[in-house]
Amino acid sequence: MKTTVIGLGNTILCDDGIGIYVARALEARLAGTADVKTAELAGLDLIEMLRGYDRAYIVDAINLDGEAAGTVFRIKPDDLRITPRLASFHDIDLVTAIELGKRLEFSMPGEVVIYAVQVEDALTLRETCTETVARVIEPVVEEIAGEIEGTAHRTVSIGLSQRRKTGA
């Protein structure tokens, strides 16, 4: 199964770089198993990034009201209009990108999984994550790698239905 991992984010904005850091950590681990890429924007670019793969994992930052920093969500595109890059007014969203790719008769992944990590700070100019968010890089890497390799793996992620609603 041809697989890609796409880390999205901006590494000069503190926790917003989480997707990139996870992708970088996965690159050597998944060499020969999956193509690992990074990007600063999504939108129409996603079509080319996803084209030709059977399965895709996307890692991005998320900022939901009332969630604890470092919470990892595992979600599907249909659940998703909530991460800024994947649901931007400034470009098309992930669901539309996948649908558009199919409409243009490109080979698009049948399975897309999004790992979204709740940020603590995604506005400060800083080239590393906060400690809280940095702590989940390794568990997320393990979970995604385990999932792709089909090996037993530790699960740190939760679904959107398990969202805490405190203050949301």
Binding site: L41, G43, E48, F89, H90
Partner: protein, 417 residues
């Protein structure tokens, strides 16, 4: 690009010719990808699928259904090529770490130059394709033509744009020129002079400011001759200039103004037409630059030798004149910064255009006409597909509410999503 020019000014350094050409080359590719996304993904569905079509159809998927798979693929392909070109020149297509005080970090590799040369004809063809589509699908459709020529989307203000020494539209470097609603030049300034010409009005309900022409003073949200508000976006650039610097874009520019019966044009939907002409201009200008042998000159940076202090950089961003102003300490650490980004220039105009569209498309007695909310959004989309870049805010959904008031000022109906 504006920040790159501003830091050049902070360090009082003149960059080498090859660096200036590389920056402009990168910027032309950026314009192609930006205008492609704005028009095809976010604005064209209003015209090609229809302003009153349900949102489930009024999107890029509906657009592909109308124009066909081959054109849809061409849009994706040429936009991707423009991104690849940016990556070749600047290392990254988005957020390149490439501009430095005094120039750029690296010269263009010969093999990349050769690749970009091969891409160029396809980009020019793509620019022409956009205008043909606009001609066939919009201008030849009476309903859409009426929408463009009607009074629902019209605003009479001053117009601003960066021009070259022949008053032609330019994106990377030039002089800021401002014309009044009759097309007469009323102001002109270089980057370092902007504070003498533009001021920013503040309203308590928003942290986005309202720039206006300083010498005319703040006069409120008023259009017509004498207003101090200006617009700065594709149509405004065209109104503020005398023409385009490349032949195919110039022919398209002349055709557009002939259709409207002369300059300046106040019909806001012409903005999308101007945007497509700019896309063609960017492709033609990219072609000129990539054929210039100096683009391969390895001398792309002058190391600054002065103590940094203060500088201003101005470019034409896809959505309007972009001004960056930095003040630094002697180590080059920014101590004060002011940015007037493209859409911010148009804040007053957008506010009025949205209000006029709402008034126009609400019927007598508060009757809600089909597609009202979208027609109000369209007044916004003329300028910008979203507000997040100008306000650094992402509310997560379109925060659109139309309150319909009676003659006594009482709200009789609210429509929102």
């Amino acid at each position: 690009m504006a920040s790159g020019k501003a830091v050049d000014a902070v360090y009082k350094v003149k960059i080498p010719a090859a660096a200036a050409k590389l920056r402009e080359l990168y910027y032309m590719a950026h314009y192609i990808h930006s205008h492609t996304a704005h028009f095809y993904a976010l604005a064209a569905p209003d015209f090609v699928v229809g302003p009153d079509a349900p949102p489930a159809e009024r999107n890029i998927l509906g657009l592909v259904n109308k124009v066909g798979i081959d054109i849809g693929r061409e849009v994706i392909r040429q936009r991707e090529i423009s991104q690849i070109i940016q990556q070749m020149i600047g290392g990254r297509a988005t957020h390149p770490v490439w501009n430095l005080p005094g120039g750029v970090t690296r010269a263009l590799a010969r093999e990349d130059r050769d690749s970009i040369k091969k891409f160029a004809p396809g980009l020019v063809g793509f620019g022409e394709l956009g205008l043909k589509l606009f001609d066939d699908l919009v201008l030849k459709n009476k309903g859409y033509l009426d929408l463009i020529l009607g009074d629902g989307y019209e605003l009479v203000t001053n117009y601003m744009g960066l021009v070259d020494d022949k008053n032609r539209v330019t994106f990377y470097d030039g002089t800021v020129r401002v014309v009044d609603p009759d097309g007469n030049e009323i102001d002109r300034y270089r980057e370092s002079e902007y504070l003498d010409h533009v001021a920013e009005h503040v309203e308590p309900y928003t942290y986005l400011k309202f720039p206006y022409l300083k010498k005319l003073g703040w006069q409120g949200f008023k259009e017509g001759k004498g207003t101090s508000l200006y617009q700065a976006a594709p149509l405004a650039r065209f109104n503020a200039a005398s023409g385009m610097g490349t032949p195919k874009a110039q022919a398209a520019y002349e055709k557009m103004f002939a259709t409207f019966g002369g300059k300046p044009v106040h019909k806001l939907m012409a903005m999308h037409w101007a945007r497509l002409i700019e896309l063609l201009y960017a492709a033609e200008r990219l072609t000129e630059l990539i054929q210039d042998e100096e683009i391969l000159d390895p001398n792309v940076r002058v190391i600054p030798s002065t103590t940094p202090s203060e500088g201003v950089g101005i470019v034409e961003a896809p959505r309007g004149t972009l001004t960056h102003h930095y003040v630094t300490d002697s180590r080059g650490i920014v101590t004060k910064a002011n940015l007037i980004v493209g859409t911010t220039n148009n804040n007053g105009a957008i506010s009025m255009a949205v209000k006029k569209a709402a008034e126009k498309f609400v019927g007598t007695g508060g009757e809600i006409k089909e597609g009202l909310l979208n027609r109000v959004e369209m007044a916004f989309r003329i300028y910008d597909p979203c507000f997040s870049c100008a306000t650094h805010s992402l509310p997560g959904q379109m925060p659109l509410t139309v309150d319909i008031l009676n003659a006594a000022g009482e709200t009789i109906r609210t429509v929102s999503r």
